[in-house]
């Protein structure tokens, strides 16, 4: 019995980690800039397509015809060599194999630029406008982003293979004293979880131990006071938006082997992430992280056949149900502060 | 006995915020038809006291009684329906609506109660209420601005309109929170004139203010609040002559 529960717990971790990462970025943007960003899911999706783009670039091929050999049906044999492999040899092959983790290197600058451009170009003008208008403009931006991706990459999901060495499963059970092969967990999901822990830890450390982070935290607590201190909060907020975009993008990149990305990936995650943020409490970073994992794990348990036998359909609605109950019973979510976003 | 016409009684109210004793042992009796001013230096607890009276803050102990009804625990709209209207420190008005509609809305609340589903009547056919509102606007000298959008009024006009919104309900008790805060000398004087004008109508008023000029031109009775306690209570002349008050409050001004 314990094994089953533990396994479901593990199964919820990777999805929970994705929710937590998206919700973390949403909360950073909301807490610092005071903007409700419906385009945040689109940033997650754009990150995922950075990985797609990187791989497509790496797998550009040259076709040479080898006249000495023929294919089974008599035509001259075409030999396809990825350019990267042609240029870099074995290292190129490794690069292709590990394209997903390597694409983080290009994702960071791309997402930072996208984030800063969005903030300077559009979001900035919405700080003082009603939340409804912020929701609407970012909702429109999300539509634009997903349609652009659709017209470039097509409507179908594009699978991203994980590196061959990381395809197996980890026998977690045997690590903690169970029999071998009782509790196994796909290695990439474990990596995703650890990756999210590192990112979340990094963001918290950054906010806790740097001067920049200190100002941002003060700004989240009381924007006006910090403004009165004469600190140029605007530039920091631009960087903050860029940072949130980077976090969302990296979360998207690493998630591609688990779920082949398509253009509406962002919208799918956005709705859930908003629920996560609200459950955690608008403006609370620990709340967002806790609620992300909590909902991921709850969803995993709700999809157990034993549970579904008792409450049919529970797996379909669990997240929304939890959101409704928490909002009605604890209006400010698990860790929200009073008076945030109520008008 | 004087007790017979006490309309508002703040009885032994204490309010603590964490370790801070914001209000201590407040006992306040407001007589019917009188203008009762509460004055005190900044941070004395005046706004806290007003919020306790209006039911926005629950007192840590003690209670507020209005004409036999305990106010503590009631919702703002219920308190209003008992006959209490409030003017805010920064005018709370319907900025998107016209001045006339701003004044008509409270008249509907007075006539129809907390909720009525009167959606098939045309607003234009509510002539009685409109005339009443126009009358009220004339009283406060704003009839010429009746079709303006309320949000575009000057600060003084917003305040006068808010006052009209309260007066049209003929409240038994009117609470005024620094009615001249942030106003020019001219606007302050017109507001005082207006308040003096309505004084003759026999409405009870509680006014919170730190502008001495305003207080001494309006109040029948003054309570002085300092550090969450009432340190003096009496007619304007008594309070003016009270050495404790001079020390705590007026001393700084003179």
């Amino acid at each position: 019995m314990f094994e089953v529960i533990f396994l479901q717990f593990l199964n919820g971790l990777d999805k929970g980690a994705a929710y937590a990462l998206i919700a973390l970025g949403l909360t950073l943007v909301f807490g610092t800039l005071g903007v409700v960003n419906f385009a945040h899911g689109a940033l997650f999706m754009l990150g995922a397509f950075c990985a797609v783009m990187f791989r497509q670039f790496l797998t550009l091929e040259t076709v040479t015809i080898d006249p000495t050999q023929t294919s089974p049906w008599g035509a001259p044999l075409e030999i396809r060599t990825p350019l990267v492999q042609a240029w870099f040899g074995d290292f190129g092959a490794v690069l292709v194999n590990y394209s997903v983790p390597f694409s983080i290197l290009i994702t960071i600058p791309i997402m930072l630029l996208v984030g800063i451009a969005l903030e300077r170009g559009i979001i900035k003008h919405f700080y003082k406008r009603p939340h409804a208008e912020q929701i609407l403009v970012t909702f429109g931006l999300a539509i634009v982003a997903q349609e652009v991706i659709k017209s470039i990459f097509g409507p179908n999901p594009i699978p991203q293979p994980m590196p061959t060495d990381l395809r197996g499963a980890a026998d977690i059970g045997s690590w903690i004293g169970f029999q071998a092969n009782v509790i196994t967990y796909p290695l990439w999901r474990l990596i995703y979880f650890l990756f999210s822990v590192i990112i979340i830890g990094g963001v918290f450390a950054f906010l806790q131990f740097t001067t920049f982070g200190m100002v941002v935290r003060a700004g989240m607590a009381d924007r006006e006071t910090v403004g009165l201190l004469g600190i140029n909060i605007d530039r920091r907020f631009t960087i903050m938006f860029g940072l949130a975009a980077v976090v969302a993008g990296m979360a998207g990149v690493m998630y591609t082997p688990l779920l082949p990305p398509n253009y509406h990936l962002g919208m799918d995650f956005l709705v859930l992430s908003f629920v996560v943020v609200v459950v955690g409490g608008m403006g609370s970073l620990p709340g967002a992280v806790a609620a992300g994992f909590l909902l991921g794990i709850l969803q995993s348990f709700a999809s157990m056949t034993q549970i579904k036998a008792i409450v049919p359909g529970i797996d379909q609605i669990i997240i929304y149900l939890v959101a409704v109950v928490i909002l009605l019973v604890r209006p400010r979510g698990l860790m929200g502060r009073r008076g945030v976003m109520e008008n | 006995m004087a007790n017979s016409n006490i309309v508002l009684h703040v009885a032994d109210v204490h309010k603590r915020f964490g370790g801070l004793h914001a209000l201590a042992d407040i006992d306040l009796q407001v007589e019917e038809g009188k203008t009762h001013a509460i004055i005190g230096p900044n941070g004395a607890g005046k706004s806290t006291l007003l919020n306790v009276i209006i039911g926005k803050l629950a007192p840590s102990s003690g209670q507020v009684v209005f004409d036999g009804a305990v106010l503590t625990g009631r919702k703002p709209y219920q308190i209003n329906q008992l006959g209490i209207a409030r003017v805010f420190q920064t005018p709370e008005i319907f900025s998107d609506l016209s001045v006339l509609h701003n004044v008509m809305i409270p008249a509907f609340a007075k006539r129809d109660g907390t909720f009525t589903l009167n959606m098939l009547r045309a607003l234009d056919s509510e002539t009685t209420i409109r005339e009443e509102a126009e009358h009220m606007l004339e009283d406060v000298g704003m009839l010429n601005r009746r079709d303006m959008q309320a949000g575009s009024l000057s600060r003084g006009d917003k305040r006068r309109m808010e006052l009209a919104m309260c007066l049209i309900q003929h409240p038994r008790l009117l609470l005024l929170d620094e009615p001249t805060a942030g106003m020019s000398r001219h606007d302050t004087n017109t507001t005082i004139e207006l308040l003096q004008k309505i004084k003759s109508r026999g409405m009870t008023k509680v006014i919170i203010e730190h502008d001495m000029h305003v207080v001494f031109s309006l109040a029948d009775k003054i309570s002085v609040l300092a550090q969450g306690r009432i340190i003096a209570d009496g007619s304007p002349d008594e309070v003016r002559g009270n050495p404790k008050v001079q020390e705590a409050y007026l001393g700084g001004a003179h």
Partner: protein, 379 residues
């Protein structure tokens, strides 16, 4: 008469009616004069007018109104299946059921305001959508969608001995409601809906809703319990959505769960914003424009574009075709998204604000005599 409706309101209603009823004529040159699309104009017009009663008047932004639309469709189809193929009982049934559904969801959601309210409505709608696809399959027929069959009981029809040959279709007093008959049936409801919305907006109740949007604090200190007002608006707009959903089932008796998805809720928000929040005519225009472009733009393809741009020099024309093709056909959502972003940034009041601004400019540059009218009434 003046007590009943002001002169301006009456003129607006008459004008609106005329525009709607003559649509089959004046929309033909635009390629939109066919019944199928015209019916959709009416149906989504009703949906948007109703949504505006909640969002436009009270300011509460619901992200789950598609749920009521879907419930209306299901209720109407069930009425066709169980009772009769006549449309009127189906409409009544659908409006009542969706109103009841809105009452429950509204009662819970309106305990919170701001974004919490939006998320609550979104969560309820997504739950309805997910359940319609899974556990509620006996009621909704899951992914296939609820359809009419020959073996449906239709007890009322059976009682009066009416029977049909072939595929059952909704009727009105024995008349089939396909084609233009369907359009005029829907048009009648749109005009009625518009009239009712006009009455609501022009009533004391409507003024209370606007004051809730303007300042809830003052509303409460003025002696109003704001929640029943907001709840009434929520239920009314839910019933409008149910009515629209039922009409969609009348014109095409098939109800699917995708009508309840949050993207469908987002669409009605787009319509209302595009046309002009809080105005009477704006949401209808927004709905028409979105439905029109959805049909027209998504039907364009490279061939048509090549013809259209053929006057350009050869190489250049190809580039232009390639670029424009991204914005039409399957890509028309991109156009929609861009237009929407531009509207929210530059024209938050939607098309109606644009019209007002143009009118103001025209008046300013008009004859000097007209000038004095734009000032506030003089002292």
């Amino acid at each position: 008469m003046t007590n009943f409706m002001s002169r301006n309101d009456l003129l607006l209603l008459v004008g609106f009616t005329a525009v709607v009823l003559t649509m089959p004529i004046w929309l033909t040159p635009f390629g939109a004069g066919y019944p199928d699309l015209l019916q959709r104009f009416m149906i989504f017009g009703i949906f948007a007018v109703g949504f505006n009663i909640l969002f436009g008047l009270t300011g509460y932004l619901s992200f789950g109104h598609a749920a009521f639309f879907g419930v209306g469709s299901y209720a109407a189809v069930w009425s066709f299946k169980l009772l009769t193929l006549d449309a009127i009982p189906a409409m009544i049934f659908a409006v009542l059921i969706s109103g009841l559904f809105a009452l429950i969801i509204g009662f819970l959601s309106l305990r919170r305001s701001g974004i919490y309210f939006s998320i609550l409505t979104l969560a309820f709608a997504q739950m309805s959508y997910n359940l319609a696809y899974s556990v509620l399959t006996p009621i909704t027929n899951g992914e296939t969608g609820l359809q009419l069959t020959l073996s449906d009981p239709r007890v009322l029809d059976a009682a009066i001995g009416q029977s049909f040959v072939g595929q059952p279709v909704p009727t009105l007093l024995g008349q089939q409601l396909g084609g233009y008959a369907g359009f005029y049936f829907c048009a009648g409801f749109l005009i009625l809906s518009f009239f009712f919305a006009q009455r609501v907006a022009g009533s004391p109740f409507g003024m209370m809703l606007k004051s809730i949007k303007s300042n809830q604090t003052r509303m409460q200190f003025t002696g109003f319990n704001t929640r029943p007002y907001a709840l009434s608006a929520f239920v009314i707009s839910g019933m409008y959505a149910g009515l629209a959903g039922a009409l969609l089932a009348v014109t095409d008796p098939l109800a699917g769960a995708e009508r309840m998805q949050w993207t469908a809720s987002g669409e009605v928000v787009l319509m209302t914003i595009l046309g002009g929040v809080g105005t009477l005519v704006g949401p209808v225009i927004g709905a028409w424009i979105i439905k029109y472009f959805e049909n027209i733009l998504s039907a364009l393809n490279d061939n048509i574009l090549t013809q259209f741009w053929s006057f350009l020099p050869e190489g250049f024309a190809e580039i232009v075709v390639k670029v424009t093709s991204k914005f039409v056909g399957d890509g028309w959502h991109l156009t929609l998204g861009l237009v929407f972003v531009i509207i929210v940034i530059f024209l938050p009041g939607g098309i109606m604000e644009g019209v007002r601004r143009i009118a103001a400019v025209a008046r300013r540059s008009g004859p000097p005599g007209a000038k004095s009218h734009q000032h506030q009434p003089a002292e």
